[in-house]
């Protein structure tokens, strides 16, 4: 079976020009950012990160050791700046030669895609070194060489063309919306509209476009929520996707361009609020990386998450919720990008508690939660593709190494449903449960709300 497209990294030629590019990019760390400079200078090699990383714990090897992975760049940077190297290279007049070779670049292409960038190491590092920053730098360099895994490159290209990662044109998108409206009416017994491109609406809702196909129940949950809350909301075709592969590939221009789609839609529709859904990295980019950081402090709309809106109204008793409609034990998986990068941890729990009869916490949880193993774009990767063929496929890697900690955590709860409000986590954990023959459903928080919600005159 050959599903590798024209962008394939396999067999990609790594010559002197590529290696010079790597050296130049690593050298440029001397101009910043500050985080990278500090991480080059400070690491004391105490080994704490190795005991706090889900990958390193599942497969204790030097290559999975976070400090060891970061050394791929750190050693090169520090060696390059050393007096000894300066004298040696002046004498040999070889310049950057010997700092990196073809084999090393091949290893980078593998190793920087084994870290999911979950930032858990930074929580326990005595200096707060965030290895995800180094991983992303490594990936950015690989991206500039055309060595990003095909699936991610393809997704970015589709997104550049259609504005969404799924490649919906307007007709296909409206088709999905109509289908969801029909399903909603069937389920709740009352018509529930999903407004699209409604100018002057108060709220523009935006989530991961993958949800439309993979998690329709989650999207229906949003619509039912807005309906029940009486919020004047809309979706936008142009901005139907807040997912943003630029964070994962290290492609800053893509990240900014994709964020601009959201900004433009907010400006065009004149909404007061941009509300992001169950998608951790999307919310992180929309609110903490992009948003006012890209488009100015005085943007005329607020950026928030649907969990804040919903939890607030549930607390005020705005809806009738029937927890007995969700009788199976439910556990909550904190997506890294929500818990560690945006601080969103309590609101999903408040919602779940109101919607289910048996809620069970995983341990550890919240900002100390283990990554599911699908973060950093890994959930999208299945094949054994690499510059060289990988020893194991990405899928096997995720099932046996990346996901090992999460599997143990879920097993320990005895839950029958994992609520994971993130398209990456959903896909990965779902595969993980199937692979390990666990009878556990995986879905969103709003799927639960959709089921528990008792509407006026409805079912």
């Amino acid at each position: 079976m050959n599903t590798i497209s024209k962008n394939s990294t396999q067999g990609h030629e790594i010559g002197q020009a590529e290696m010079d590019k790597v050296v130049a990019a690593v050298r440029a760390i001397k101009d910043g950012p500050r985080s990278l400079q500090l991480y080059m200078d400070l690491c004391a090699k105490c080994g704490t990160c190795a005991t706090q990383c889900h990958v390193s714990e599942a497969d204790p090897e030097r290559r999975t050791n976070p400090a060891g992975r970061s050394d791929l760049i750190r050693k090169m940077f520090n060696e390059d700046g050393s007096v000894i190297r300066k004298i040696a290279s002046a004498l040999s007049s070889k310049g950057s030669a010997g700092l990196i070779d073809k084999k090393t670049v091949e290893e980078w292409a593998r190793d920087f895609y084994e870290c999911s960038g979950c930032r858990r190491c930074a929580k326990f590092c005595p200096f707060g070194i965030d290895n995800s920053v180094i991983t992303r730098k490594g990936r950015a360099i690989l991206h500039s060489l055309g060595l990003t895994p095909t699936r991610l490159v393809d997704t970015q290209e589709v997104s550049n063309k259609f504005g969404n990662d799924e490649g919906f044109n307007r007709a296909a998108f409206m088709d999905v919306i109509n289908f969801l409206e029909e399903e909603l009416e069937e389920e709740h017994g009352v018509p529930i509209k999903i407004p699209v491109d409604k100018e002057g609406a108060e709220v523009l809702y935006c989530g991961a476009s993958a949800d439309f196909q993979n998690s329709p129940d989650t999207v229906m949950g949003y619509a039912a929520f807005f309906h029940a809350a009486g919020i004047d909301w809309t979706m936008s075709y142009e901005a139907c996707d807040a997912a943003n592969m630029g964070l994962f590939t290290g492609d800053d221009p893509h990240m900014k361009a994709k964020n601009k789609v959201l900004h433009d839609a907010c400006m065009k529709l004149g909404v007061k609020k941009l509300v992001i859904g169950e998608c951790g990295h999307a919310y992180r980019i929309a609110k903490f990386i992009g948003g006012s950081n890209y488009w100015g402090k005085d943007i005329p709309y607020q950026i928030t998450n649907i969990f804040y809106l919903a939890a607030d109204l549930v607390k005020k008793g705005a809806f009738k919720l029937d927890p007995s409609r969700n009788p199976i034990p439910v556990t909550y998986h904190d997506p890294c990008n929500f818990a560690r990068s945006t601080g969103l941890t309590e609101e999903p729990r408040e919602l779940i508690r109101a919607c289910v009869s048996d809620f069970r916490e995983m341990t550890p949880n919240r900002d100390a939660n283990w990554c599911c193993g699908g973060g950093g774009g890994l959930a999208n990767l299945d094949s054994a593709e690499g510059v060289k063929k990988r020893e194991t496929s990405f899928q096997e890697y995720r099932m046996n190494i990346g996901g090992k900690k999460k599997l143990e955590q879920i097993r320990a709860t005895g839950a029958g449903y994992v609520a994971a409000p993130c398209a990456n986590c959903k896909r990965h954990i779902d595969q993980l449960m199937e692979y390990h023959k666990m009878d556990v459903k995986v879905g969103g928080v709003f799927d639960l709300l959709n089921r528990a919600l008792v509407l006026k005159n409805g079912n």
Binding site: D31, P33, R34, L38, K45, C46, G68, C125, P126
Partner: protein
């Protein structure tokens, strides 16, 4: 008067100060100049004053390390605390504080006893913890696999300084008046050669090497921790 006494006692100290100051200023300027994007790691403190409280807590009690690795935390916290105590105690090698002792109502004999007990204990503790860190680095696979020459050089240097210092304290009597007289001369640029005690020369030489090494090694974590923590605690 030996050549070593002149080199270590008259020339090297000024080199050490210049290298250390220039090196640290260079590093800090570089960090300050580099653009620092927001990279908040939750749950981060909500206000700037809380942020600095949290950073101070990290610097004083290593809270994140406590959460991450209890045995390393114990070993390294005791190691750093004893080192700090020793550095403070070294002020008595340079000069004396008769006014302070008078204010505290302590006689010279009292001060010597305190110095012997507290300083002596710290000297033993720091040696024990240093050995623990070295053994851990050699034997714990996850640490050994990421350890480089630099990591062993740093630890070895500290251990050598600690051992020569312990010999000065517990070995044949070393007269502090001799070193005070020497440092008084050094500070007024009329320095005579360093005291001839060979352990003093070794200790003082390695100490200066360590100070010069700070801006060029992982010892940069001393000023750097304020910067790196600030990045992730910034809202």
């Amino acid at each position: 008067m030996s050549a070593a006494q002149v080199f270590i006692g008259v020339i090297l100290p000024y080199v050490t100060v210049v290298v250390f100051v220039v090196g640290i200023v260079y590093r800090i300027k570089k960090w300050n100049k580099a653009p620092a994007g927001k990279m908040t790691l939750f749950s981060a403190p909500a206000t700037p004053s809380e942020k600095w409280k949290q950073i101070l807590k990290e610097v004083l009690v290593f809270k994140q390390l406590f959460d991450g690795n209890k045995s390393l935390w114990a070993g390294t916290w005791i190691f750093h605390a004893a080192l700090l105590l020793i550095i403070v105690g070294h002020s008595r090698v340079v000069t004396d504080f008769p006014l302070l002792w008078a204010a505290l109502g302590m006689s010279n004999a009292n001060v010597d006893t305190m110095s012997n007990v507290v300083g002596g204990a710290a000297g033993v503790i720091v040696l024990a913890m240093g050995i623990y860190l070295l053994v851990r680095r050699l034997l714990v696979t996850r640490v050994a696999e990421i350890s480089d020459t630099e990591d062993y050089v740093c630890l070895g240097l500290i251990l050598a300084i600690v051992i020569s210092g312990d010999i000065l304290r517990f070995g044949p009597h070393f007269d502090l008046n001799v070193s005070r007289e020497y440092f008084a001369g050094l500070l007024t640029f009329q320095g005579g050669p360093a005291p001839s005690n060979p352990w003093f020369l070794i200790h003082f030489f390695l100490g200066q090497i360590l100070i010069m090494y700070v801006p060029f090694s992982k010892f940069l974590h001393i000023p750097g921790i304020f910067y790196s923590k600030s990045l992730i605690y910034q809202r």
